[in-house]
Amino acid sequence: MAEVALLDVGKSYGAVEAVRGLSLSVAHGEFVVLLGPTGAGKTTTLRLIAGLERPDQGHVVIQGRDVTREVPAERDVAFVFQQYSLYPHLTVYDNLAFPLRSPARRVDEKTIRRRVQQISELLHIEHKLGNRATALSGGEMQRVAIGRALVREPSVYLMDEPLSSLDAKLRAELRLELKRIQRELGTTILYVTHDQIEAMTMADRIGVMSEGALIQLGTPREIYERPNSAYVAGRLGTPVINLIPARLLGGPVPPQVETVGLRTEHIRISTADGPGPRAQVHWVEHLGDQNHVHLKLATHSLVTLADPVQPLKAGDQVSLEFESPLYFDQAGRRISADGLRGHA
C-alpha cells in the first residue's frame, strides 16, 4: 500500500508555477529521493505533503486518507529541515522530546525518556543530551535534527537536504548512517537533494524533477542507464555526460538522432590509429586516483576519465571508440538503440 501519494498536485506562487501536475506514490518502507536543481519544486513537494503549503489543485493522500485539507499537526509526518532545525533555547534532550510533548500526542515522561534514550544511542549522541542545542558541532546538530524526526513513528519522514550544510566527510558518514537506520527501522522516507551521490547511494527510487514537474521516476540503475531524456542523463554521473551532435561522430546511428550522450564509460581512448573519430587532448587534470581528460572533437569539448597510468598529455592526437552510447532526438528525448522513441 502506498504510504504517501500525490495525485496531480499543482501549486503556484503568483505567476511562478512551483509544482505542476505532480503524481507520485511512495510505498511503505521505501526510500525515495527527489533530485533536481534549485527551484525544481522539490522542497515545495515536501511542504505540500507536510501541509505547510496548500495545493492549488490535486490531492495529497497519506496512508489511504485524503489529507489535502488537514493542518500539518493532523498529518502524522516528520520533517527534517536543511538548517535551523533545532530550537536554540532548549537542550538536546528537550529538542528530541519536543515532538513527543506535543499536546496532540500526550506521551508520558517515562516513555519520552526511554524513546529519547533509544534514539540518541542509535545516532551516537547520548553523551550530548544535556548540552544546549547551540553548543553542538554541525554534524551533531543534524544528527539531533534527524533524531527529532525519528523519536516519533510517523507514516513518512520528509527530509529536505538534511546533509547539505555539512562538510564532505560528515556528509558521507551520515549518508551511510541514515541508510542503515532506514533499513533497520524499515521507515518510509521521501528525501530531497541536489546531490547525485546521495540520490544514487540511498534511494530505492529516484524522481528527477525540473521546473515543477517530475521528469522520470525509477531505480537508480534505471535512471542512470536508461534516462528518458538528455536532461535526466545530465543529472547523474561525474564527469557530466557529454552531449555531442550526432553528425560530428559519424558512424551508424538510429534515425532521428540529433544528439549523442557519452558518459565516461562509453568512451574508449586509444593513442593508436583507430576507425573512430579523432580528437585532440586539450588538457589533463590529475586527481590522483584518476585523470580527467578534456578532449577537443572538432569544435566540441568532451570530458572523460582516463587511467592515470595511460600517458596522455596536452596536444596528443587520439582516436575515440564508443560503446553503447545514449541517443537523443531533437527535443532531448531518448531514442533506444533500436530506434524506438521513449522506450526507457
Partner: protein, 317 residues
C-alpha cells in the same frame, strides 16, 4: 637594534586605542551621571543648603526633603505649638522644629501608584499587541502590509501632543479624562507603533522553520508561537518593553492635559511639590529620586536581554 616581532591581530585594538576608548567612555559616563548624582544628593540637603551659592558639595545630610515629600504640613505660631502635646515620632519632631505641624500624608504615594499602573499597564498592552501584530506582519500575507506598516509608523511622524485637542475632546466625550484606563489606552496607542516596528524586525530574524517544524510535530500555530517563537523573541520583547516603559513613564504633556486628580502621574505631580511652602527643592529631588528607581530596576532586570537587543538583531546568535 632589532624591533621585537609581536603577533598582532588586525581585529584586536591596540592598547593605546583601548586607553582612549576607556577615557571617552568614562568621561561620557561622568557627564551623564553627574546631574543624577546632584539630584540624589539634593534630596538629602536641607532647603537652605539646596539653594546655597556657591553650591555645597559637602553638607550635613538630612531627610527633611523626604519627610516634606510624604507629608502635608501647615505653619503655626510658636504659641500654638506650645499648646500641643510633644511630638511622638522623629519626623514629627523634625517638622515641629521648623514651626510646622503635619496635616497628613501627601499625594505622592497615590501618584506614584498611578505612574506604576499606567506605565507598566500600557507597556504590557503595547508589547502584547505589538508582538501579535509584528508576528502577523512577519509571517502572513497581510493585504496592503506595506501601507499598513507605513500608516502605523505615521502616527509617530508628529509629536503626539499635536493631536492633543482632538484627543482631549474624545476623552471628555467618552468620560476617560482623569482615569487610569484612559491614560493606559492613550500610552498604549502611542507605543504600539514603536512596538510593531521594533518587534517586526526581531520576528523577521526568527526563521520560519522553527514554527513549521513544531507544527509538523503536532503543535498548532498558536502553540508553536508560544513554545518556539516567543522564547526566541525575548531579546526583542525586552528591548521594546524598556523603550515603551520609558516613554509612558516620562510622558508629561498629555498627563498635564488629561489628568488632574485620580489618575495623575508623577511627571505633572513633581512640579506641584515646589508650590507647597516655598521652593522646596530637596522634596522635588527626593521625588525625582524615587521616580527614577522603577525604571532603573526594570532596566537592570532586563539588561542581559537589552544589551543583545539594542543592536536590533544585527548580531546573529
Amino acid at each position: 637594534m632589532s624591533t621585537p616581532i609581536t603577533a598582532h591581530s588586525v581585529a584586536e585594538p591596540s592598547s593605546r586605542s583601548k586607553l582612549i576608548a576607556s577615557f571617552l567612555v568614562v568621561t561620557y559616563a561622568v557627564i551623564t551621571i553627574l546631574p543624577l548624582l546632584w539630584i540624589f544628593l539634593t534630596g538629602f540637603k536641607t532647603p537652605p543648603d539646596s539653594i546655597a551659592y556657591p553650591p555645597k558639595v559637602l553638607f550635613e545630610p538630612s531627610v527633611e526633603g523626604y519627610v516634606n515629600l510624604f507629608t502635608t504640613r501647615s505653619r503655626q505660631t510658636p504659641e500654638f505649638l506650645a499648646t500641643l502635646p510633644p511630638p511622638q515620632t522623629w519626623y514629627e519632631r523634625l517638622v515641629r522644629s521648623r514651626n510646622m505641624v503635619i496635616g497628613g500624608p501627601s499625594k505622592v504615594v497615590p501618584r506614584f501608584v498611578n505612574s506604576m499602573v499606567i506605565g507598566f499597564g500600557s507597556t504590557f498592552l503595547a508589547v502584547c499587541f505589538g508582538t501579535i501584530a509584528a508576528y502577523a506582519f512577519s509571517r502572513f500575507r497581510v493585504p496592503l502590509a506595506d501601507d499598513l506598516l507605513f500608516f502605523i509608523l505615521s502616527t509617530r511622524m508628529m509629536p503626539p501632543i499635536a493631536v492633543a485637542i482632538p484627543i482631549y475632546l474624545m476623552f471628555r466625550h467618552l468620560g476617560l479624562t482623569d482615569t487610569k484606563l484612559g491614560m493606559i489606552l492613550l500610552y498604549t496607542a502611542v507605543n504600539v507603533s514603536l512596538a510593531v516596528w521594533l518587534l517586526k524586525g526581531f520576528m523577521d530574524e526568527i526563521p520560519r522553520e522553527y514554527e513549521e517544524a513544531a507544527m509538523v510535530d503536532g503543535y498548532t500555530r498558536l502553540q508553536a508561537f508560544f513554545k518556539v517563537v516567543l522564547p526566541q523573541a525575548t531579546t526583542g520583547i525586552a528591548a521594546t518593553a524598556i523603550f515603551c516603559l520609558i516613554f509612558a513613564w516620562n510622558e508629561y504633556a498629555f498627563a498635564v492635559l488629561l489628568t488632574s486628580g485620580d489618575a495623575q502621574t508623577m511627571p505633572p505631580f513633581i512640579p506641584f511639590i515646589i508650590g507647597e511652602g516655598g521652593q522646596d527643592w530637596p522634596a522635588v529631588a527626593a521625588a525625582t529620586t524615587i521616580f527614577f528607581i522603577p525604571i532603573l530596576c526594570f532596566t537592570i532586570l532586563l539588561r542581559r536581554h537589552l544589551l543583545r537587543g539594542i543592536t536590533f538583531g544585527a548580531v546573529r546568535k
